[in-house]
């Protein structure tokens, strides 16, 4: 069937949802389980019901709209939570494109042989207790201790948030029991990087999603008076960190081209201009789309960290905070999306997703693929995040046609 999405309606939906949680800085602040998120959930429920889909919510707060049919389930979705002061497209574009696609399928009474379900996953952005809480709960992969005893990055007990919002640890830990038997999952998302725009291409077909390894690290040395401790007698924890950050970045850039390593946060203690840092706490994150590279980077980087510690008379400590494995998208999904792009006459390119996505978690249960649309100037997680509506129309049409092919 040659049906297309209605971009005006999709645009209206995105603009309506984008007003929920609009903050004073011009962005959208809608972290999961915030008041704005609860309002957005109510809005989405109404939209799903209006579309003629059967609404349900699981114990983790994941929201679904189902078009029932015999056979396995074809799922499309993303998330509607945002980072604080984020944009209106990261996640929301994927959920509302899936809603629009399902709505058109319902409107056109397209004949399906498989169930179709759209999904909006809780806390993809990890504002609560780690990334992908909803899709991990959907897969039965949630860390029980984090759910029961964890604190958010703002220091709030997660159990208090659950109490306030009516969700429960048991509900989150049991959410996977409500998962239908999946055949495939497809997620449309903004690229969050500059590649598609640079290449002048509207559709990115994700072949690989990078894995992530995130640790909280520290070098511990000796603090001392900056005026009275000669350079050669110092054990300056910050210089250890500086040395490590430069050499680890260089190592990844030269030996593991395409992988990335980032030190995004650092704090020196005691943190005075006239005291040698006795301790430097920092975050270390590396990502790669190759499982072999992930393992090799981990080995190389921690050997380097220890080597620097030994040379500089410091101690290196680190604790794993989170990790996700790299995912290779099933070739049949990549081919199918590529065929639909060709048949629609949209230029497309195959690419790697450097960012993590729910699709990566759900890849453990079925073939899982992604459709990217360009992020102008590569911007996301920012009030300046935007899309070209023409690109979104193309992306949503590819999603619609891919779902039709999968569920036919």
């Amino acid at each position: 069937m040659d049906i297309r999405i209605n971009i005006e309606r999709l645009k209206r939906d995105l603009e309506e949802l984008g007003r929920i949680g609009r903050d004073d800085h011009g962005g959208v602040s809608r972290p999961s389980f915030s008041a704005a998120d609860l309002e957005a959930r109510g809005w989405l429920k109404k939209k799903i019901e209006e579309a003629g889909l059967c609404y349900r919510q699981d114990g983790a707060g994941n929201q679904f709209g189902r078009f029932e049919c015999a056979g396995k389930t074809i799922m499309a979705g993303s998330h509607i939570d945002t980072v604080p002061n984020g944009g209106m497209f990261d996640g929301a574009a994927g959920v509302l494109a899936a809603l629009e696609a399902a709505r058109r399928i319902v409107e056109e009474k397209a004949p399906l042989t498989k169930a179709l379900e759209i999904a909006s996953f809780t806390d993809e952005e990890g504002n609560l207790v780690g990334d992908f809480l909803g899709s991990r709960a959907f897969m039965g992969l949630v860390d029980e201790s984090a759910v029961r005893n964890g604190r958010t990055s703002f220091g709030v007990l997660f159990s208090d948030i659950l109490k306030r919002t009516g969700f429960t640890a048991e509900g989150i830990l049991g959410a996977h029991k409500d998962r239908p038997e999946l055949e495939a999952y497809v997620e449309l998302h903004i690229e969050q990087g500059p590649v598609l725009e640079d290449e002048g291409v509207s559709i990115g077909i994700v072949e690989r999603i990078a894995g992530k390894h995130y640790r909280q690290c520290a070098y511990v040395g000796e603090s001392g008076h900056s005026g009275t401790t000669p350079l050669e007698l110092r054990h300056d924890a910050f210089l250890g960190l500086a040395d490590f950050a430069l050499r680890a970045t260089q190592l990844v850039a030269t030996k593991y081209y395409g992988s990335v390593l980032t030190v995004g946060k650092a704090a020196l203690h005691p943190g005075s201009f006239s005291v040698i840092p006795g301790r430097a706490d920092f975050t270390l994150e590396f990502r790669s789309s190759s499982p072999e590279a992930m393992a090799a980077i981990e080995k190389d980087v921690f050997a380097l960290a220890e080597d620097i510690a030994a040379t500089r008379g410091l101690t290196f400590i680190s604790k794993l905070v989170d990790q996700t494995a790299p995912v290779t998208v099933a070739p049949r999904i990549v081919s199918l999306i590529a065929e639909e792009c060709r048949s629609l006459g949209y230029p497309s390119m195959k690419m790697t997703s450097g960012a993590g996505h729910d699709a990566q978690i759900i890849a453990g249960a079925c073939d899982s693929g992604m459709i990217f649309i360009p992020s102008p100037d590569g911007i996301s997680h920012s009030p300046a995040e935007r899309v070209d509506w023409g690109d979104l129309e193309k992306g949503a049409n590819v999603l619609l046609r891919t779902l039709l092919r999968l569920a036919k």
Copy 2:
């Protein structure tokens, strides 16, 4: 006259003063103009009066005890304020050794031909609006805008503190008008470093006091998603800082041996594990006892900072916060102290002070010298700060005899 100080009385005084502002962490928290400092000021006033000295306080809160005589003034002193959670000797040892010396001179009715005055200077530790507020006010070197509009490092308006404590900006700015005509200033202080202990020597005779240059700096680059921005496209502000800190330290260590450079505090923005730092704020401090080296380090280090910015596509910005010039102690003071050590049979060594002291500020008005006693394990600015009472007795005796020689 062969008179000596009474170490038991000096010890009692130090222990009494050390109980004022004793904090929960076992240290002394007595920043200038705090409640504890005001209590300590009352205690010191009483002690000065009991010693038979004429008490006065100037508009900056500097406290003095004067033994009047015709002729110029010979002054000895230090400070009784502390860093938060500091020790009981940094500063206090110098003030109370000077008090004990003056007290012995009064008791023995030693014949003087010059006035003798002991001094305790406000906020040497710079907890309010920059180091050496009291001695700078005494010299007429206070930054008027800092006094009128400045905020402390805790964000409190200095003018509010003045209002609460009964001091005034006018008083601070006019304090120098009450300065007597000085001939010499001598300050006993703990070394705050490991040298005297390492050498097994009780008395350090300071020949030079290092100057200090303290700047608030930043590298500004571009933030971005850590997963979607390839390493080669990044303008990571933290890597700029890391590169700078390593190379600037290396530069000073190799080209300006004996000088020091420290990055003691850093903050990355936005400061998330998954966002490339778009800005890295940091403190930069360097110290040298040579005016030529200070100027050359400044030139070299800022050329390096700009060079790194250009190479990495960053912007380097910096703002001078504070600086003090290196001071060479008048040779006649160094010789005089050395002679007194010899005549008392105390081993001594000439040395450089890496830390800054009030003596350095007062060097602008007269010959100004310092007597150091060992800091066990080099510790200061800590509850673990301590002295060997035998070393303190020796140091105070050298101070007493030096004052007698100067005022005779």
